[in-house]
Symmetry: C2
């Protein structure tokens, strides 16, 4: 039985932009698992209530509801054979660190570039929810958070310095093969990419070349995904 | 034959404060290797010229000169048996990432807290070198870089968010055992600690408790080390 995966969608079903859901999609693909995505919107808390969470990603596998991208990844890796997402125990701990770095430093840097784009791809009811919840979290308006796009692009490049340096030495953050750390950072950048934004690195940079490589992984799944056009 | 290790020292031989040298010391201790430290000052380029580098750490092992903390760590791990510094190949790649994160984000956050302290523990000739080289690198005076200590402490806590979150889930960045990623971040914080600065986390934080655990490792080597008192 294939896994059901609740995936954040825009007003149009095809536009999938959540960084956390992208991690989970890449993890499912890496493990070679069949899954069916169900488009889900910010306000549809009832639909995923059985997971105990109000946020996606959420999966249902053999009747088990599992929420949270990290919990899902570790569940998939211990439940299913196939290529490990993590490597050894040390790698799993370090993947967790990289994931948390994405959640904190990288997302802080991407938010000014992404938040107003999100507002443009979701419907009116979701806009009200998104604006209220994010403005409360940030302690400022979305317009204030996104006021200086040029500064935000510079800050994102500065934040990604360890990735640019690491990827100039190896094909993947995980070395010779992609691991969950690659998917975590990819999710963050795919967030911006899906919303029609560009990654602020030149095409010959290590980060850009790595991003293109991930778009090509797993039969080009992420490359084929819809992106916003504005 | 024991390994010779050129270790940055203050005007007093006993004060060792380089973040990069602390990584190397912890790596040598982790591998259980005998080493003899030689105090070295910023201006003593001639002494380590055979390494091809103008900076420490530098080691001499069986007549081989090796510079750069990452190169030394990978040399030690592939040359000597005993506990691995890295785990598997994925872990080594991720340790490199964490090390680069320390070199970039963490050091950018610590510099405003550390640079003027360095000036107080080195002699006059080294002060001239240090001020000129760092002001050129930063594009501002040391006084400008260190102007707002309170803001710097807030920024350091923000920067270390992934470490605080990771270490609230596990004893070490490497999970159940310390790995080179732990030593890389420890070196960064020991820099400030050796210079008499305090880590801007409360004692019951995950980062503070982890820092105390590393001070106790290897017979308390780092805890016994001299710290500046001013």
């Amino acid at each position: 039985m294939s896994i059901t995966f609740y995936d954040l969608a825009g007003a149009e079903n095809g536009l999938r932009f959540s960084p956390y859901c992208w991690r989970t999609k890449m993890a499912l693909l890496h493990k070679g698992l069949d899954f069916e995505t169900v488009p889900w919107r910010f306000v549809e808390k009832d639909v995923i209530a059985a997971s105990g969470s109000g946020h996606v990603p959420v999966i249902v596998d053999n009747g088990n509801w599992i929420a949270d991208s990290w919990e899902i990844a570790t569940y998939l890796d211990r439940t299913y054979a196939g290529a490990s997402l993590f490597g050894d125990d040390t790698s799993r701990a370090l993947c967790r660190f990289v994931t948390t770095w994405c959640d904190t430093a990288v997302h802080r840097a991407i938010r000014p570039l992404a938040l107003l784009r999100v507002m443009q791809v979701i419907d009116e009811e979701c806009q009200a929810y998104f604006r209220e919840s994010r403005e409360r979290m940030l302690g400022m308006t979305l317009d204030e958070a996104c006021a200086d796009q040029a500064a935000a692009r510079v800050a994102l490049v500065e934040t990604l310095a360890p990735a640019e340096q690491g990827l100039s030495q190896a094909q993947w953050l995980g070395g010779t093969d992609p691991c969950y750390a690659d998917y975590a950072l990819f999710g963050s950048l795919k967030w911006l990419h899906a919303l029609g934004g560009s990654i602020p690195f030149p095409p010959d940079s290590a980060v850009s070349k790595w991003f293109e490589r991930i778009l090509d992984l797993h039969d080009g799944y992420a490359r084929k995904a819809e992106t916003a056009d504005f």
